[in-house]
């Protein structure tokens, strides 16, 4: 077992951190949060400087972790343009990879993944957005809800229902790549989020949107399986968001405790809180890295991945709340309160904590290891 990263990755981490410290100033973070504005210039800058390197998953994780520790809203925003790409990468045709992914890879385009619907996000197999095959096209109608990048993406990897699936709901689902410029496609930006307000979220409505049949990812009827496979990948990156958020809150809390001097740092109650925060972060990081190492060696373990995601959400929320408690009322305005608001999303998106627990226990009951 080797707990050390290579020198190259350590240097990469250092480079990302320096970028974050320079570009994600508290003033900027605050501005994008207040205005609920997507930081496209920062996305481009991060891309140009090679900080979002999709060819190496460890680098992606490190970028997410480091950037989120400086500011979660900005950190997620600059690392999310590729959201959903693995679905095409693993199951899509060469044409789809060439036509769509290459543009995201080169920093030109932004994409997103549209699974959740107004009537539910946890029950993926309950998707009702219809896609009917007519000649060499699919005609898509339905709505999607809470879609990150929905109003700025060039295209969305979209889960649709192509049949009733011989009585088994999840058999009737497929994945289509849908151009957001298509006639009948409409994205409505949703405002007023608790946190991660630099990221952009939209409600999508599609009315008879025509999608070329060649935009079908893989085979018809396998959409549910593709999306679940994707979640087993993306949850690792989401766990990295949680580690970053928790680390950022912890770093700030530690600094504050030290600054207050012995009268504060000398109290056992304060020391115990710091110790609990640090321990949870360490444990979450270890589980996440373990899950990542299985996945990046093509031997994913869904139970461990879900453990990492669930723990990361819990840790981010715990550490952010404790940091505010330590800081006291002066933190009612500032970086820590923003991080607290950002942290809660970790227990909701990419499978809520309850759904992660279901995934974990189902795998354990099937013989998976704890």
């Amino acid at each position: 077992m080797d707990f050390k990263f290579s020198e190259e990755l350590n240097q990469f981490r250092e480079k990302v951190r320096k970028f974050g410290q320079k570009e994600f100033t508290p003033e900027r973070a605050r501005k994008f949060d207040l205005e609920e504005k997507y930081p496209d210039e920062l996305r481009k800058l991060a891309y140009q400087q090679g900080l979002v390197d999709y060819s190496d998953p460890w680098k992606v994780m490190i970028s997410i972790e480091e950037l989120c520790s400086i500011d979660p809203g900005l950190g997620i925003s600059v690392t999310i343009p590729y959201f959903g790409a693995e679905v095409i990468l693993l199951f899509g045709s060469d044409m789809l990879k060439e036509k769509y992914l290459s543009r995201v890879n080169s920093g030109e385009a932004i994409m997103g993944l549209a699974v959740t619907e107004p009537s539910g996000g946890s029950d993926v197999a309950g998707s009702t957005t219809r896609a009917e095959k007519k000649g060499d096209k699919y005609v898509v109608s339905g709505s999607k809800m809470f879609i990150s990048n929905g109003n700025i993406a060039d295209f969305l990897v979209t889960l649709v229902r192509t049949s009733e699936g011989d009585g088994k709901r999840h058999h009737g689902l497929s994945v289509l790549v849908i151009d957001t410029g298509s006639t009948g496609f409409n994205a409505n930006k949703l405002t007023g989020k608790l946190g991660v307000r630099a990221t952009t979220t939209a409600e999508i409505s599609m009315q008879n949107v025509e999608v070329p049949a060649e935009n079908l990812v893989g085979e018809e009827g396998k959409g549910f399986y593709y999306i679940m496979t994707f979640f087993n990948i993306s949850r690792i990156f989401v766990a990295a968001q949680g580690i970053g958020i928790a680390q950022g809150a912890y770093n700030r809390a530690l600094e504050l405790v030290k600054k207050r001097g012995e009268s504060f740092s000398g109290k056992e109650e304060v020391q115990f809180i710091l110790a609990e925060m640090a321990t949870k972060i360490k444990a979450t990081r270890l589980v996440t890295y373990e899950a990542a190492s299985y996945l990046f060696n093509f031997e994913p373990d869904p139970a461990i991945t879900s453990m990492a995601k669930q723990m990361a959400g819990e840790t981010a929320v715990f550490v952010a709340e404790k940091a505010l408690e330590l800081a006291g009322i002066e933190a009612v305005d500032g970086d820590l309160e923003r991080i607290f608001r950002d942290a809660k999303i970790l227990e909701i998106w990419e499978g809520t904590s309850e759904i992660e627990k279901l995934v974990i226990s189902r795998n354990l009951l099937k013989g998976g290891k704890a």
């Binding site: 949060d33 207040l34 959740t116 009537s119 539910g120 996000g121 946890s122 029950d123 309950g126 809800m145 809470f146 949703l190 007023g192 989020k193 608790l194 946190g195 207050r260 504060f264 109290k267 056992e268 109650e269 304060v270 929320v317 709340e321 505010l324 408690e325 800081a327 006291g328 009322i329 002066e330 933190a331 009612v332 305005d333 309160e337 607290f340 608001r341 809660k344 999303i345 227990e347 909701i348 998106w349 809520t352 904590s353 309850e354």
Partner: protein, 341 residues
């Protein structure tokens, strides 16, 4: 046990909310508590509810007063906080001298408004006073509009500052956004000492039941909305309430709420006030966090009025919890100074 007057006041607080407080898009958070709304609250007798008759108040007992705080907090905790700041903070400090009494009367009738510095062990109000004037900074103050300021001085005195106040409002503070929060700069402000009671002392132990009632109201608002939501939201073709962990979480929290409510309305409430305060602050945070969670993605958006309760309850903990508060509780439990190392 609740008296008839308490029931009537609860009902009128509910009616006030439904008629005069905007619903949706997080209620008052965008507009804030305007002078007009403050006047309406005053006209309904909420702003002076616990003040003495000399201050123009009804001089009500604690029970109906905290019932009103609780009722407002279910939907709009900022209003409850405003009522508490007037009745239990300004009310305890300004009523001891004629000028102060006049100010209190005007405040309670909605004609005047004030801000108060929020004390905290590490909040440093750095002010220096001359004979008749004072200058310096107050890092965090909250309230209505900054027509006058009540503040604690590092030396321990509590002061009323009437002029020279410049208030730099925070654009979007964490919680209680319908109130004004900000930093204060005082330049040659006219001031006077108000009574012998320190503001810090009032925050630490003089408003236990008021704080508890606001926190309890937040918890109730959060859990009641969530119980309703889990009845109607279907997930996997099943009502959310039918899943064991969901029903357990809601039942557990509702039980805790009812136990606290029993404690806060019992005759031994004064004896147990430190414990009640501690427990309600904790419960508000746990309940509102769970409420966001069980509303899923919708809970994360302002329009549902749930995330606000999570922010407000965290702010309550920062404002009214903390190590000094813990020490008071420890002393209560052990009967002597404990847990200070």
């Amino acid at each position: 046990m609740s008296s008839e007057i308490t029931d009537i006041l609860r009902a009128s607080a509910r009616e006030f909310i439904s008629k005069s407080v905007p619903s949706g898009e997080n209620g008052l958070e965008k507009s804030g508590i305007t002078a007009e709304l403050r006047k309406k609250l005053a006209d309904q007798g909420f702003l002076n509810i616990a003040l003495s008759p000399e201050a123009g108040g009804a001089g009500l007992e604690i029970e109906p007063y905290i019932a009103v705080l609780e009722e407002f907090s279910r939907v709009e905790p900022s209003i409850a906080m405003e009522i508490m700041l007037i009745n239990s903070v300004a009310g305890k400090l300004l009523g001891h001298f004629e000028d102060g009494m006049e100010m209190l009367r005007k405040t309670a009738s909605g004609e005047k408004s004030f801000i108060v510095s929020v004390p905290g062990e590490y909040v440093k109000n750095s002010v220096h006073s001359k004979e008749a004037t004072l200058s310096g900074d107050v890092p965090v103050a909250v309230g209505g509009s900054p027509e006058y300021l009540i503040m604690n001085e590092p030396a321990g005195r509590t002061l009323l500052v009437r002029s020279g106040i410049s208030f730099r409002k925070f654009q979007k503070p964490l919680g209680f956004r319908a109130l004004s929060w900000g930093k204060v700069e005082i330049k040659d402000g006219q001031y006077e000492k108000v009574g012998d009671r320190s503001l810090e002392n009032i925050f630490l132990s003089g408003i236990n039941l008021e704080v508890s009632a606001i926190a309890l109201g937040i918890a109730e608002g959060a859990i009641e909305k969530t119980i309703e939501y889990t009845k109607v939201r279907k997930v996997f073709n099943t009502s959310l309430k039918d899943f064991g962990p969901v029903a357990s979480a809601m039942s557990r929290m509702k039980t805790e709420i009812e136990l606290l409510r029993t404690a806060i309305t019992s005759e031994s409430v004064h004896e147990n006030q430190e414990m009640i305060r501690h427990k309600s602050l904790e419960l508000a945070l746990n309940a509102s966090r769970a409420a966001v969670q069980y509303h899923g993605g919708y809970g994360y958006f302002e329009a549902f009025g749930i995330e606000k309760l999570y922010r407000d309850s965290m702010t309550m903990k920062m404002m009214f919890g903390g190590l000094k508060q813990d020490l008071i509780l420890h002393k209560k439990i052990y009967g002597s100074e404990s847990g200070f190392l």
